[in-house]
């Protein structure tokens, strides 16, 4: 048995297996239950680590950028014409999100040891099931499987919030569930339609939901722009609510406030990333024209979220709600970066996902530790805790600094790259066409940095500094806690802190894995449109200049890589939107076996493949196809 093929399956289903075993345990033996749950999630982490090592060794062997560690089995066999698969695999983006999940879950479980006193067995089972769901999303390479896992994560979290939550847990759980389901229903319609559309238009006669195939299809702009618009909206409906993007974020503060600590950690740390990951994995590459067209709109929503979330965070009395609103603000950065459609912005965005998972997850942990002792999170009822809880103060300040993007810690790298990518978006540096955003978008977004410092430091000042204020009869040490953090709690926070320092000081290994993947699986698709003269002439809001496309030694190589298409760009800009309907020439080409199609993504840096096809495509145009990008002409 080839381990590299099965390792992801092992990672995904190990927690589920653990949960099933845990069902056999005696519900009264809480100690045993929680230790075995922890052991199971740590084992999962080790497996994920193994997967990471396998990934890196495979990537070093030259396969950077493509999906690795793949296992693909058709459920029904390809002969049936319905090619729905069990298909897992990771690239440089998803492997790190998988790692994030497998790191945060054991820490969240470890953090629940004292907080969860009732119905412990169910609780830990749900946590493990949730882990399987989240890891499944990041590893899925089949759209149906992706969707199933994506929706499946709702169920465990619904119960975690609904059973072990705060006073308004029922309302929070319901709101959370209905919001997300309402959005993902539309996404599901989109999923079905995209498969149908591909079935009809690809000429292959196979009903498939294979993500790499669809990415390859999208790369060739295989989907008519008008269809892309609707599909983009359908996908965005589900993903934006999950992110959550302004103005559909209102479920988040409530869900966070009512969720138990571990629920908040997982919710902020991983579940929100399912939304951004959905955009990065599906919307951008499969729907490149629509992504380009919608980018300014999404960016404006993101910027609104950044400022709005920050301002709302500032006036919260509940520390947890404050951190929850800060998530709205931070995820705005994440979305902004990806819609710059530039390497810098996308790298920043993906790193931002990790950073936000680490620092906000840790902040929720710290807040939970305070809550366990004082049974309140009201900023007016606690204060000056630095005096009695120096360790807690250290970690709260540390993660605050990480969260507000202090250079040298992780937050800075993501924030800086996001803003950089946004600022350079509308220049044509990468050899690709100019992106949709620009310096004018970076300026309002940067106010988020100032506001971020405002509310986080305000919170620190109230909670940590000033005269000591404690509610009566506290701190509560009945569950075996000490006044300051216990060794267990410090042990939970230290790994996260180390990860923050590592990403801040030496993120090179991360970047080396991510950037080829971003280049290969997103930019090559979204930005292949170097023929788009409309964007190449987009004026910089600052001074109307246009930086030359050939300003770096790299550019030359990229231009080669894109098959010299830019040179003929001006002449026939319409060629790019050709593919809305079946036509004989394309059908002939696409009648190749699926495996041949897959070489689009599996071919490492041999990017031009898709373009080669593109270039040789018959110029028989579909006259009724609208041009997406003409609006800027």
């Amino acid at each position: 048995m080839n381990l590299a093929e099965w390792i992801l399956t092992l990672v995904i289903f190990a927690p589920l297996a653990g949960a099933l075993l845990l069902l056999l345990a005696d519900p009264r033996d809480v100690k045993q239950i929680r230790v075995s749950a922890l052991a199971c999630s740590i084992a999962t982490f080790l497996l994920a680590l193994w997967a990471l090592i396998l990934y890196y060794s495979a990537a070093h062997a030259g396969a950077v950028g493509s999906f690795l560690l793949e296992k693909s089995v058709s459920w029904f066999g390809t002969s049936s014409g319905i090619d729905i698969r069990y298909h897992v695999g990771v690239d440089g983006i998803s492997i790190w999100l998988l790692m994030l999940t497998s790191v945060l879950t054991p820490l969240a479980i470890f953090g629940s040891f004292t907080g969860i006193q009732s119905r412990a067995k169910e609780y830990y089972c749900w946590m493990l099931v949730l882990q399987t769901g989240m890891q499944g999303v990041f590893c899925s390479l089949d759209l149906l499987m992706f969707y199933v896992f994506f929706e499946f994560t709702l169920i465990p979290l619904f119960f975690i919030i609904g059973i072990w939550g705060g006073p308004e847990k029922a309302r929070a759980a319901t709101k959370f569930f209905i919001f997300t389901v309402a959005g993902t229903m539309l996404t599901f319609a989109g999923v079905l339609y995209i498969a149908y559309y591909h079935y009809v238009n690809s000429g292959r006669g196979i009903f498939t939901l294979d993500i790499p195939t669809l990415i390859a299809f999208g790369k060739m702009h295989g989907i008519a722009p008008a269809v892309q618009w609707w599909l983009f909206l359908a996908f965005a409906a589900g993903f934006s609510i999950k992110v959550p993007l302004f103005p559909v974020h209102t479920w988040l503060p409530l869900a966070h406030t009512e969720a138990p600590t571990a629920g908040s950690v997982i919710l902020a740390g991983v579940l929100l990333k399912l939304g951004t990951y959905g955009f990065v994995r599906l919307s951008l590459p499969i729907l490149p024209d629509a992504s380009l067209a919608f980018a300014p709109f999404m960016a404006v929503l993101a910027i609104c979220g950044i400022i709005y979330g920050a301002l709302a965070a500032w006036v919260q009395d509940d520390v947890k709600k404050l951190v929850a609103y800060s998530s709205v603000s931070h995820m705005g950065f994440c979305v902004l970066g990806m819609f710059s459609l530039k390497m810098a912005g996308l790298t920043g965005s993906v790193i931002y996902m990790l950073n936000h998972g680490l620092s906000t997850g840790a902040l929720f942990l710290v807040v939970g530790m305070i809550y366990e002792r004082y049974h309140t999170r009201d900023i007016h009822r606690i204060g000056g805790l630095a005096r009695t809880m120096p360790w807690m103060a250290f970690f709260l300040v540390f993660f605050t600094l990480s969260s507000i993007g202090l250079p040298g810690l992780n937050g800075f790298i993501g924030e800086f790259l996001v803003l950089l990518g946004t600022a350079v978006s509308n220049t044509a540096k990468d050899g690709f066409h100019a992106g949709p955003l620009g310096y004018a978008y970076a300026v309002p977004a940067a106010t988020g940095i100032v506001l971020g410092a405002v509310y986080m430091l305000w919170m620190c000042r109230r909670v940590l500094f000033g005269p000591l204020t404690e509610p009566p009869h506290t701190p509560d040490t009945s569950t075996g806690l000490s006044r300051d953090l216990t060794a267990r709690e410090i042990g939970i926070l230290v790994p996260i802190a180390l990860a923050c320092v590592w990403i801040g000081v030496y993120p090179k290994p991360l970047m080396e894995a991510m950037q080829p993947a971003i280049h290969h699986n997103i930019l090559a698709a979204a930005a292949i449109d170097s023929t788009g003269t409309a964007f190449a002439e987009a004026a910089s809001p600052l001074d109307g200049e246009q930086l030359a496309a050939t300003d770096s030694p790299r550019t030359g190589r990229r231009n080669v890589a894109t098959g010299g298409v830019p040179a003929q760009a001006g002449a026939e800009p319409v060629v790019r939107c050709d593919s809305s309907s079946t036509r004989p020439g394309r059908g002939g080409r696409n009648a190749q076996a699926p495996s041949a199609d897959r070489t689009f993504t599996a071919g490492g840096m041999s990017e031009p493949l898709s373009v080669t096809h593109y270039g040789t495509m018959p110029a028989s145009l579909d006259p009724e196809t609208p041009l997406v990008n003409t609006r800027r002409d």
Binding site: I178, P247, H249, T250, P253, Y308, L311, A312, A313, W314, V315, Q316, M343, A344, T347, G384, A386, R387, V397, L406, P407, G408, F412, I413, L417, L419, L420, A423, V424, T427, K429, Y439, V443, A446, T447, I449, V450, A453, V454, L457, R461, L464, F465, G466, P467, L468, Y506, P507, K508, Q515, H519, L542, D543, E545, L547, A548, D551, S552, P553, R554
Partner: protein, 687 residues
């Protein structure tokens, strides 16, 4: 210059304080306890030795050797294959800054050993204090040694963090916690512009390392297409277009970077955090909020001289901000009673001089003033700290007087520091400040006058402070047994006093025929050392900077015609005059100040309340923003959720209607069956 040696020394300068910080922080509370100062002293002291070695290497190198910029490792990447590096930039400016920072830091850290004890018992948070101090030295060294804008930003933010942590050292005092937060936030407002400036640098040059950016900027200003193409590694045919972009954007970049400098160096209108920062322990005020960190803005502007000198308008703005700040802060200092706050305003004012120096193209004089200021201002703060230590934490001058005899060492050293600040002839600040005033006068009579008036006020308020505290009837706050400070403190005061007397001689040449027949200003070894760094300033007028140093400037011709030393005599006169007036006001005729106060009570109140700037900011910015926050939150609850409620009302209404049909009673179902049947029958029969 041996690059490997310099790189190693640079690494030592960074690593030693960092190691000191980690050791003090990690072992302090359990192992080291009262000896936690040792890791900091050794780390920072080691860094000082390394910087002096580094500076001597730079000094010994040929003048035209250029900067050394070794790359340590690749940090992060904006585009595949291109990296922002962790790299150094070592040139004479770096050397001077490093020596200033590490030497003053060493003295302050040693001083703190006694200061942070009471009755030979370490204060709470003793180890924390030394860990933060060492961390600060590390951060400040990154700021001055970093070889690109990202590292500059890193150091910039990190010193801000240390400042935040140290201002809030006595975090249980609400005022200290508030001051810490205020310092960080006001700095962040400046950094907002600073960060946007860095983004614009990247947008313009596609690089953030000094070597490429400055090189390209220099060539672009010379309209040298080949040079720009070579620097940016682009096609020469595209370079002409790029030159247009660069020259167009450089002034904007300069203004954005200047925002950062205004925040960090506490200039108008972002100076408000610095007086409050005095809530921190006195050594912190001495080191961070006087000698080193706050000079970061001056350093940055001199470092980015190519960018700043690209536009005369920008330089005029720099000079005006500096000049007005110098005067404004000096006026406020006249009516304060808290010794440390007076010194804080005087720091703002002196930083204003440095900005003025940069703005009138006298960059090496600005750095010279930065250098001397580091010593005498540290001395003044440490002496004030010594007073505070002796007075049991009280620093309000209305509560003590006549300390001359109780604190002799403190008195004499503070007298030296105060005389230096006042610009007493032959002391260090006399030379450095005079050079700036001279250049200002030569450029623009208005700026020159502004700086002369501020100089007079400086002499007055400094000696007002000294006379009120040390002269007169001997009086100490109740319950305080005043005593001279311990040997660690006093010895550092003496060292700093010696420095502030003699440090000025690095910036002047001693030879016959000059001022008082001895000294030639403006051509000291320091200026010769810095000359290769500040070429952008010395040749500044080549790039359109003539706009405000116009030839018809009346003072220019006037200054040229008279003896070059007349100004030195004039400023000696102003300094001594200010001191004499203070003596009259506060020693011989102490009823005069009261008379002045009564004559213009409203003006006095305005000055005493610092022109109500804090209140203005609170009303105009903080409260509206907070209200906006409340509004956002309410929108969430009422508007967005309300709309969603309306949307869900449709299915809910539907469900409500259906539910009323399903009442579960047989009669009801029977009735509706019959009704339905009737309708169908009617339809069939009559339709």
């Amino acid at each position: 210059m041996n690059e490997a040696n310099l790189e190693l020394l640079g690494i030592l300068v960074l690593l030693l304080p960092a190691a000191g910080a980690v050791l003090a922080g990690a072992l302090g509370s359990r192992v080291l306890k009262g000896t936690s100062h040792w890791p900091a002293i050794l780390g920072v002291g080691g860094a000082a030795v390394a910087s002096i070695l580094l500076a001597s290497q730079v000094w010994l190198a040929p003048r035209d050797a250029g900067a050394v910029h070794p790359v340590l490792y690749q940090w992060f990447s904006p585009v595949e294959g291109s990296w922002f590096n962790v790299e150094f930039w070592i040139d004479p400016l770096t050397a001077i800054m490093l020596v200033t920072v590490t030497v003053v830091s060493t003295l302050v850290v040693i001083y703190s050993r006694d200061y942070m004890r009471h009755h030979n018992h370490p204060e709470r948070g003793y180890e924390r204090f030394f860990a933060f101090l060492a961390l600060f030295v590390f951060s400040m060294s990154v700021l001055v040694i970093g070889g690109n804008f990202v590292l500059l930003y890193l150091g910039w933010e990190a010193v801000g963090l240390c400042s935040y942590l140290l201002i809030g050292f006595y975090y249980e005092r609400p005022s200290a916690a508030a001051a810490a937060k205020k310092a960080f936030l006001v700095n962040r407002i400046g950094d907002f512009g600073f960060g946007l400036g860095i983004l614009l640098v990247y947008l313009t040059f596609r690089h953030l390392d000094y070597a490429t950016v400055f090189d390209a900027a220099r060539h672009a200003l010379d309209h040298d297409a080949v040079g720009v193409a070579a620097a940016l590694n682009i096609d020469p045919s595209a370079a002409a277009e790029r030159i247009g972009v660069i020259t167009h954007r450089l002034p904007v970049i300069a203004l954005l970077l200047f925002c950062g400098a205004v925040g960090k160096s506490a200039q108008l209108p972002l100076y408000v955090w610095l007086p409050d920062a005095m809530e921190g322990p006195s050594p912190v005020s001495a080191l961070i909020h006087a000698a080193t960190m706050v000079t970061g803005g001056v350093y940055m502007m001199v470092r980015c001289g190519v960018i700043f000198t690209s536009s005369g308008t920008v330089m005029l703005i720099v000079a005006l901000v500096g000049g007005f700040t110098a005067l404004f802060a000096a006026i406020i200092a006249l009516a304060q009673y808290d010794m440390k706050r007076i010194l804080a305003y005087s720091t703002i004012s002196q930083l204003g001089y440095m900005f003025l120096g940069v703005g009138v193209f006298a960059a090496s004089s600005a750095i010279f003033h930065l250098f001397t200021h580091a010593f005498f201002k540290a001395l003044l703060f440490l002496a004030a700290g010594s007073v505070m230590h002796a007075m049991g934490g009280i620093i309000d001058m209305r509560r003590f007087s006549g300390l001359k005899r109780i604190l002799p060492w403190t008195f004499w050293t503070m007298l030296i520091g105060g005389a230096t600040l006042a610009g007493f002839p032959l002391l260090s600040a006399f030379w450095s400040k005079d050079q700036i005033i001279h250049e200002a006068l030569a450029h623009n009579w208005f700026l020159g006058t502004l700086s002369l008036v501020a100089a007079a006020l400086t002499a007055f308020y400094t000696f007002r402070m000294i006379f009120v505290a040390f002269w007169g009837e001997q009086r100490v706050p109740e319950g305080v047994s005043a005593h001279e400070s311990g040997p660690w403190m006093v010895s550092m005061l003496v060292v700093l006093a010696i420095c502030s007397i003699f440090a000025g001689f690095v910036g002047v040449t001693v030879e016959l025929g000059g001022f008082l027949g001895l000294v030639q200003p403006e051509s000291g070894p320091l200026h010769r050392f810095l000359a290769p760094v500040v070429t952008a300033f010395t040749q500044g007028s080549a790039h359109g900077a003539e706009s405000y140093t116009a030839a018809e400037e009346p003072m220019r011709g006037f200054i040229a015609t008279i003896s070059p030393h007349w100004l030195m005599y004039l400023s000696s006169l102003i300094a001594i005059g200010g001191i004499v007036v203070a003596y009259i006001f506060y020693v011989t005729r102490p009823w005069i100040p009261q008379l002045v106060r009564d004559a213009a009570p409203r003006a006095y109140r305005v000055v005493n309340n610092k022109f109500y700037v804090d209140e203005l900011y609170d009303r105009a910015i903080v409260r509206p923003l907070h209200a906006a926050g409340v509004l956002c939150w309410r929108i969430d609850d009422f508007v967005i959720d309300g709309i969603l409620w309306l949307i869900t009302a449709v299915p809910r209404l539907f469900g409500f209607i259906c539910r009323s049909l399903q009442q579960g009673a047989l009669q009801g179902y029977g009735l509706s069956m019959v009704a339905g049947l009737a309708i169908i029958v009617i339809l069939v029969l009559f339709a």
